[in-house]
């Protein structure tokens, strides 16, 4: 999984779900905080489709954090005001950076992603049901 895929799943997970993944790492690894969780703004850049140019839509409140896990850096930037979650995601990121073959945690993250997808299925079906079926008069 790419960083984008992993971070997307973790960002959408609850703070509790992320804590479950991070706690075993925190229990056995040496964690040093380089940047305490803090609020920041993320300016959203958009490519508009009429002239294919870029503009700034606005800013998203986010929380960022940077740590080392056994001496390897890890970081997080997540939308919202979520200090504990940002710290735990940075720990997971640092652990993944130092353990490229950490299949077990990647598997847990993939399972989390699948459950997020599963949770959206019912709503997606409801939305799909609102698709218009046109009846053309005279045919």
């Amino acid at each position: 999984m790419t960083k984008r895929e992993v971070s997307a799943i973790l960002a959408k997970a609850s703070a509790e779900e992320v804590a479950v993944l991070a706690e075993p790492i925190k229990a056995k690894a040496q964690i040093q905080v380089l940047k305490e969780p803090q609020k920041t703004l993320v300016m959203v850049k958009v490519r508009e489709s009429i002239k294919n140019s870029l503009f700034y839509l606005g800013e998203v409140l986010a929380t960022e954090c940077m740590v080392t896990v056994n001496g390897v850096k890890g970081m997080s930037v997540i939308a919202g005001d979520q200090f504990d979650k940002a710290m735990n995601i940075a720990v997971i990121d640092g652990y993944l950076n130092g353990n490229a073959s950490s299949a077990e945690i990647l598997e847990q993250i993939a399972v989390l992603g699948a459950s997020q997808q599963q949770a959206r299925q019912h709503m997606n079906r409801q939305i799909r049901k609102s698709k218009v079926n046109f009846n053309v008069m005279g045919e």
Binding site: A11, K39, M43, Y56, A79, N97, Q117
Partner: protein, 355 residues
């Protein structure tokens, strides 16, 4: 009468602030979470006009100021100014939008179909008195709809309608313009303003002002009565560069946005103009669900591409009078003491009377 410098009012102001708290208090408190969950469109409006996406803080601002939109925008803008901006996102491409609604007024049949999603467009505008008695535990969700099981539960993504028009050469193919956007929050707006400045300004504009500009253009004070090629609402992922490895990006989460592409044929009065007729477009995109604002933005954008003397075609007029904070601040300042300037006006009137 001589001019007199005055001070005072400290105790009265302190009491006024106490009274504000007294008036805000109610016998039935409402939680921030409750506002966030139940007043979603209002929360979206606040975030859009503040240019600051945080559902929780927008709901908090609304609670703090008794639901006043302009005060809530003021609070968020003020708070936002205390935070560092450490990241700029990668460009968001709405082809990757996870859709909850997507319609086209230009074509009946579009790849992916017309998905109505949640909309008030087809609702009867009749007060629903049963909501007076509604309690969380009294909401009766209908039993599982069996027809749903035949439908896919996958996330919904669709290509853009304008991509089809470009494929047919009906809409001009335009190369990517990667010019770094102008940021109206950090730089003084000068005219003519770059396109990026006007789109950012519109995205933050007061919805009512932008609606008025668009309405005036459609009614004849301007020349834009577009066709909505596509209106889509859904979630887009916001990604930032991963500073520990430049080849990677981090997704910080999803935001809900509404996007509109509106198409306008070029002006044709002569046969020559008719032969050269082309399609042009206007673009609208805003935080949250607010379709009328997004449509109005696309009209205002298209209107600024036309020439004329109407307000909607005057860049300086539309870009400097629509900011919620600036307009409410300027109007509000009239409540401040103007004793000296008013005395000056009185003096002039008296002089005229005596002359």
């Amino acid at each position: 009468m001589a001019y007199v410098a005055v001070t005072g009012g400290k105790e009265a102001i302190e009491q006024s602030l106490k009274l504000l708290e007294l008036f805000r208090e109610s016998g039935e408190d409402i939680t921030v979470s409750c506002i966030k969950e139940n007043m979603r469109l209002l929360v979206d409006k606040i975030m859009s006009e503040a240019g600051f996406y945080s559902e929780e803080y927008a709901a908090l601002a609304l609670k703090q100021c008794e639901g006043s939109v302009e005060e809530a925008v003021f609070l968020l803008r003020a708070y936002r100014s205390t935070l560092p901006r450490n990241y700029y996102s990668s460009p968001v491409d709405t082809r990757e939008m996870r859709l909850i609604r997507r319609i086209s007024a230009a074509f009946k049949d579009i790849p992916g179909g017309q998905i109505l999603g949640p909309t008030y467009d087809y609702s009867h505008r009749l007060l629903n008195f049963s909501l007076l008695e509604e309690r969380p535990d009294s909401i009766n969700h209908e039993s599982e709809d069996e027809t749903l099981s035949d439908l896919s539960g996958d996330d919904i993504y669709c290509g853009r309608v304008t991509d089809l028009l470009r494929a047919e050469n009906l809409l001009k193919e335009v190369p990517e313009d990667n010019t770094e956007p102008f940021d109206v929050t950090s730089n003084l707006l000068t005219f003519p303003a770059p396109r990026s400045a006007r789109l950012q300004t519109f995205a933050r504009s007061d919805a009512g002002f932008l609606g008025g500009v668009a309405y005036s253009s459609m009614r004849g004070y301007g020349a834009v009565h577009p066709t909505v090629s596509e209106l889509r609402c859904g979630y887009v992922e916001v990604c930032v560069p991963y500073v520990l490895d430049e080849t990677e990006t981090l997704c910080i989460g999803e935001i809900l946005v509404t996007e509109v592409e509106a198409l306008v044929p070029s002006h044709t009065e002569t046969a020559d103009e008719f032969d050269k007729m082309t399609l042009a477009g206007g673009y609208g995109m805003i935080f949250g669900r607010n379709e009328n604002k997004a449509i109005a933005m696309s009209i205002a954008d298209a209107s600024l591409e036309t020439e004329g003397n109407t307000p909607s075609q005057d860049q300086e007029f539309v870009l400097t009078h629509g900011d919620s904070l600036e307009m409410s601040g300027f109007i509000s300042h009239l409540k401040l003491p103007h004793y000296v300037t008013f005395q000056s006006k009185l003096d002039r009137v008296r002089e005229k009377e005596e002359a």
